[in-house]
């Protein structure tokens, strides 16, 4: 039951260029969408989120876009830096302290 899907297991981008990570979801009950970043041997770290009433949220180099009609969200990183190399998990929740459902992750490699 893959309610949150990340179809690209990996992505390579040159330093300074834009990284675009994509995510699709199926559950219409999700109200909040999040991106978590994970380095090897560490736990996931919250990066940025968006609520279902918005279509864009920006935090520095990171922007998340939400297209509710297509049940699709994306994370843009501009400009990409080598330190951004990590696994990025898309996640979603109905809110109200209900469980957070994660995607399978996309491994981003930023090449210097």
């Amino acid at each position: 039951d893959q309610q949150v899907k990340q179809n690209s297991p990996s992505l390579s981008v040159q330093e300074g260029r834009i990284s675009i990570l994509n995510c699709d979801y199926t559950n219409s009950m999700f109200d909040y969408f999040l991106w978590y970043k994970k380095y090897p041997a560490e736990g996931p770290t919250f990066l940025i989120s968006i609520s279902s009433i918005k279509d864009k949220n920006e935090d520095g180099r990171f922007t998340v876009f939400l297209n509710k009609s297509a049940k699709h969200l994306s994370l843009h990183i501009v400009p990409s830096q080598p330190g951004d190399s990590a696994v990025y998990f898309c996640a979603a929740t109905p809110g109200g302290y209900q469980k957070v459902t994660f995607g399978t992750g996309t491994k981003l490699q930023v090449i210097p």
């Binding site: 041997a41 996931p44 609520s51």
Partner: protein
């Protein structure tokens, strides 16, 4: 910066043995969670805990699993009789009121469980 700490970092056990994984959540957080990640797969929800009781659990969290907050600081996950398929990285997470309602969780570094 406050953090969630987990012990042990790695535990190897024989099938059928009991295992207890320990977590110290961030001190002012009220909501506690266990997730796990089998190698190469997605991070899966196991259980959430609030006000000294389970608030939600997944189908994975069967009778072999239990959670406890034995004192004011620790949060434990017990697996009564481990199976080979329990081998995974187990992540503890906590959240405070407000942030947790929108899915913002603070994770520990994980405890790797290997069942032989």
């Amino acid at each position: 910066e406050p953090e969630v700490t987990q012990t042990p970092s790695h535990q190897v056990t024989q099938m059928g043995q009991e295992v207890i994984l320990r977590c110290v959540p961030i001190s002012n957080h009220l909501y506690f969670y266990w997730y796990r990640q089998i190698l190469g797969q997605k991070v899966e929800f196991l259980v959430s805990f609030y006000n000294n009781e389970i608030s939600e659990k997944s189908e994975i969290f069967d009778d072999q699993f239990s959670v406890e907050r034995p004192d004011g600081s620790n949060f434990t996950l017990k697996i009564r009789s481990t199976k080979l398929e329990d081998s995974a990285m187990y992540f503890c997470a906590s959240s405070e009121a407000g942030q947790g309602s929108t899915g913002e969780l603070f994770f520990g570094e994980g405890s790797r469980l290997t069942v032989l």
